[in-house]
Each structure stands twice: as C-alpha cells, then as structure tokens.
Subunit: 367 residues, 2 copies
C-alpha cells in the first residue's frame, strides 16, 4: 500500500463532517451518524489512509461507494454501517476484480463518510477526491459517469442483508432508475457501489483533493468558533465563496416524491438585503437561488445555507420557518462546467429550460 497522503485521525472526523455538510449544499444527507460510525471503527483499531490521486498505479481498481435514498428519511433511518461495504463486495464478485481503494461518489453530506466507513471494514485506503465536488441527487450526476465510467456492474445493499446487483444496465440513467426504486423498497436508505474504475481513469475524472478540502473548511469553521469570529466571514475568506443573501425563512415546502425530497424555501431579506426576497429551489440539494426574481446562483455552482449566528450548515430537511440564514455561493470545479457536464448537472437537466448556466466568478469577491 502507498505511504503517500495521510492517515485519518479521530480528530479529523468532526471537521471533515462539518466541511462535508457545507459542500452538501443543503443535501447529501447529514454526515453526523456516519461520523459516529467512522469514529467507532477508528477507535476499534481501523486505519484509513487518504491517498492523493497520484499514489496508485494506473491499473489499480477503484470502487465508488455512497449512500442512496432520500435525506428526509436518512435522518430517521440509521444505517447499520456495512451497507456500502457489502455493495462493494458484490460488485467485486460480479466483476471479478479486487479494489485497491475506495472513492466517494459525492463529498457533500453523508457520502463523504461512507467510503471511509466501507474502507475501514475492507482495510483499504480512500482517494482524496470525489465525483461531484459537492452533492447531487442522482447517481449519474458524477464526473465519473459524465466522463465515461461504466454503469455495470453496480450493487445496492440494505441494513437487513438484501443485496441487489445491476449486472447489465444500458446506461447510467437506467442504473439511477433501478437503484433509486430499489433504495425506496429498502426503506429509502441503502449503500450503493458502482463498477470498478481504473486509477488512470479516476485521475482524469475525479474532482481532486475534496476530502482534504472538506477537512480544511471544517477546520476553518471550528477555528472561527473557538476564536468567536464571524464564521460565515471566515468561510468566505478561506474558500473564495461569496455571501449572496441574509434573511429569515418565511416559507418552506417539501414533498417526498419517488425517493427525492423536493421543495422550495422563501427567505425575506435582512441587513443589506432588507426589502428583498430570495427563493431557493430544492431537489435534495439547493438547486437555484433567485433574488427578487432574478437567478443569482444555479447548479452546478454551490448554494449553501448557514445559520447566521453560528455558521452551522443547514441541510434542506433542517430548514425551518423563522430561521435566520446566510446564503453563500461557491464556484464548482471546472470538470463540472464543461458542456457534457452541464447536460447532466446544469439547470436544464434539473427542469429549468429557461435558465442558461452562468458560472459564478472563480476569483474571490468581497461580500
């Protein structure tokens, strides 16, 4: 095994989960339970190394794993812990390969922790990167699939012992359909693993360094809290994000449709935005921010809601009437902004035919 990168310490798990929650852009599920699971495994002696993208040879097999379901359910239904591990083993058996490392489908939310938990079970390292650089609601919305990863074989496992293998699937959209409905059957929360990818491919297709990025963001938050600094201000300074809106939640609507949490939040402006109104469209994650009817941030760029006082990331299922929030925007990685990527994760792909993706400036802008 490579000795590059670093071994995750127990003290890394809290900042990692805070940073992951922020990069979850309101979705991806709350990483808290996963953090407890990972902590338990590290305390029992498991060791998980975080490897940079240049650590393994081209022909090493990498397994992508993550939880699949609806985050509204994820809060209530606690995973047993071995779901992604069992799904990954089923993929190994079906494909006839052995994985050298695991990688996250999405760094945002609970799926930042899932590969770490599965890696702890399997005795494998994780790759410092992921397939989104954020969170997205559907399995085909990864740089891996966008840049040509095979859709088969994939597998899904629940906490009860059921394992379903998608042995032959025409494409990633069929895979999403089969896996999503099987996840709903399994109680809307399950572990998911896709086909083995070569390290050569992962090096080209992964959003690089996102495990470390999440860890650093979380450390910034914890450090600002310890020093009683303005957390949102510190995040903006450290990440190149921009504060787009502050206000109070005046309306929040949610529906659980086919395993997805859909809805929207209305925020009445305060401070510099007094008199303005913001609207955020949600499908598990925050998709589009409008301010006074004008689109201000849109997928795939990141829209993040934080509690105004504490800087705590607010997942969409935790949004409540009366909450005081700050909305910040962060440019997504370039791999997510190519024409082929925008076909899968741009505003039109999410059902907004009238919106043409206008990227956030990639240089920091003072709020």
């Amino acid at each position: 095994m490579s000795d590059k990168g670093y071994i995750l310490k127990e003290s890394d798990l809290l900042p990692l989960s805070i940073g992951a929650a922020l990069l979850g852009t309101g979705g991806g599920g709350n990483p808290y339970i996963g953090m407890l699971r990972a902590r338990e495994l590290l305390r029992k002696g498991a060791s998980v190394r975080v490897l940079p993208l240049d650590a393994l040879p081209d022909d090493a097999w990498i397994g992508e794993v993550g939880g699949i379901g609806a985050p509204v359910v994820g809060v209530e239904k606690i995973e047993e812990g071995g779901e992604c591990f069992r799904a990954m083993r089923a993929v190994e058996e079906t494909a006839g390969v052995t994985m050298s490392a695991l990688i996250s489908a999405e760094i945002g939310g609970a799926n930042a922790l899932e590969p770490i938990i599965a890696a702890a079970y399997a005795g494998l390292p994780v790759i410092d990167g992921d397939g989104m650089g954020r969170a997205f609601p559907e399995v085909q919305m990864t740089t891996f699939f966008i840049y040509g990863a095979k859709a088969e074989p994939a597998a899904i496992a629940d906490e009860k012992g059921n394992v379903v293998v998608f042995k032959k699937v025409l494409d990633m959209f069929w895979l999403e359909r089969f896996a999503r409905h099987t996840a709903v059957d399994m109680g809307a929360a399950a572990g998911f693993a896709i086909a083995p990818m070569s390290m050569a491919f992962v090096r080209r297709a992964a959003v690089p360094g996102t495990v470390t990025q999440a860890l650093d963001i979380g450390q910034t938050v914890l450090d600002a809290r310890a020093k009683r600094q303005n957390v949102i201000q510190r995040i903006v300074e450290a990440t190149g994000a921009k504060l787009f809106f502050t206000g109070k939640v005046t309306d929040i609507r949610r529906e659980l449709i086919g395993g997805f949490a859909r809805g929207q939040a209305i925020i009445a402006g305060t401070d510099a935005w007094a008199g303005s109104e913001a609207r955020i469209a949600i499908q598990n994650e925050n998709l589009v921010l409008w301010i006074d009817g004008e689109p201000a941030i849109m997928v795939p760029d990141l829209i993040m809601n934080l509690e105004l006082e504490t800087g705590e990331p607010i997942t969409t299922e935790m949004l409540r009437y009366g909450q005081r929030v700050g909305v910040i925007g962060l440019p997504v990685h370039d791999l997510m902004k190519t024409p082929e990527a925008l076909e899968i994760v741009g505003p039109k792909a999410f059902g907004y035919p009238d919106l043409t993706f206008t990227p956030l400036a990639t240089k920091p802008i003072a709020a």
Copy 2:
C-alpha cells in the same frame, strides 16, 4: 440427456396455449405471443423435450423461469423473446451452476410458454410440471417457495439488455417486492429466473404433469370445436370442473396499481341463473366468485371464465361489458391446499380476512 417424455411438436403449441390460458384463471397473461415465439424457434430447428418428474437425477439443477409484470401491459408490450433466457444465465453465473432443465413458475397463461422459449434458446428440456398448477399474481406464490426453495440468487432481464440480479434477499417476499418494482421500471414486462433447485426438491414440490394437462385440455377444446360440440360441457366432462354460473357482464372495473391489474367484474345471471348476480374479484387472476353475495369458489381453487358460445378462455384484461360468459371451477392440486400453502395463496393472503378456504369437491360433479 434423458429420452423419457416427449418432444414438443409445432402442432402441440396451439392446444398448449389454449389449455394454459384456461388454467390461467383469467390471468397469467395471454399466451398467444409466446406461442408465436415458440413456433418460430421450433421452425428454426430448436427441439424441446418435455421430461416427466422422474427423468433426471436428484442432483440435477432445475431453473424456474417466467415473465413478470402486469398482464394489461403484456398485451401491448411484446417481449423480445430472450428475456427469461438471459435472466436464467445471470442466475447460473451468480450461483456458479449449470441448469439441466427448466420449469415453469406457473402453467397458467403466458408463463406456460416462457420456459419452452428459454429452453429452446438454451438447448435444454423442460420439466412436465410447474409451481402453481394455475396462475397467481406474485412470485412467492409457488409450491417451490411454499415448500422451501431458496429466494436467492434470482434475476430479471428486459428486452433492451438490462439484467438485475437479486444476489442476497431475506426471503421470497423481499424478492417479490424488488422484482416487481424492477419489472415496473423495465416497462412492466420482463423475464424472471429464480435460484437453481435440485431435481430431488422439484420432484417433491412441483405440481406434476401440468404441461401435459394444459396440452390435453387445449386438445379437448380444439376437438370439441372441430366437432361443433358444446366446448364448456366437454371441458367439464374431461377435467372434473363444474359449471358454476352463466351470465352477461354488466360491470367491469380495473386499476393498474404497482404493476398489478386489480378490479372486479359483475355478471347478471342467465339460463339456470336468471335473476342471480355473480361478482368476481380480480388481482391479475380471478380470486373469488360470489353468487348472490355468497362465496362459491375462492383461491387457490381455479375460477375460469369462458365465452359461452365458443368456450374461449377470457383473460381478465379481455373481459368486456356485455360479454356472455360461463364460469367454471376446478379444484387446485393438493400441494396448494396444505395449511402452509393457504398462508400464501389462501383467501386471507389476498386480503379477504373473513373468508375461510372451503375447497371445491375433488370429484366431478354434474353441472
């Protein structure tokens, strides 16, 4: 390969499909398309032997295959032909075994033909028997599952090339749930194959001789038609069935719910039943017959509707307002009437808690 039994002739396919439609008790899907597929394969040189239950050694592996979906859709959506074959191959690969013969999940309806089509593709014989002796709407409702067949691995395949493997499933109810929803995703018609069964087990658990029984019933119908005899009368004489009602369909309701066709038919009595009213509850198949509010036949015994003039079996999706029908009842095989079987296929299992199964007399009764 055993030389017991007989090789299916092209001229056997029409009577087999007529008998299968009758044993389908209104469901199981129309066998017509399957008959054409099988005929095409036989004409191209395929040869399929029908083996009695004593032909193969105890340790031979037998594969159960059948179509899965909703018959309302089956009429419109024509299978490509290789669905069950591909599902069976996926089960072989996952289980690491080679099948020696195939057997039908249900002799009633289209699934009488599916193992013959898959056997023609695979160059295998079929076993003279099935798992129901009729048709039922759910995959766990077979004598195989009732008497202990393993639920894993099973597989489902569509006409487009998708193959999903149920590698680990807790029980047959989980299998039914996963497979049914995957079938709905696949367009509500797909090929299904369950775990390999040993011939020793199949000998104990299969309803014996039902391929030949369907063939004989169909031959009786064709013979009666050729001789311009009363077809219903000839069926009653030849099978030990009883005529329970004749009348005219006055109301028919259907809903497609989660891949199932549910509904009921109301029939106003004619002839000996003038002034009486019959009601038939449907879930893909005919479940319960009430005459003037009193239960007269109930699952698992067979309720079969035939066109009064022609004796043509009427599948539930073909029931129409104004049709003149004869309703006959046939006792199901004893393997379907044990206490453990009635838990799965008795009236209570179909949502009639107030009905206690009262079997039809097994001796022929004059109508």
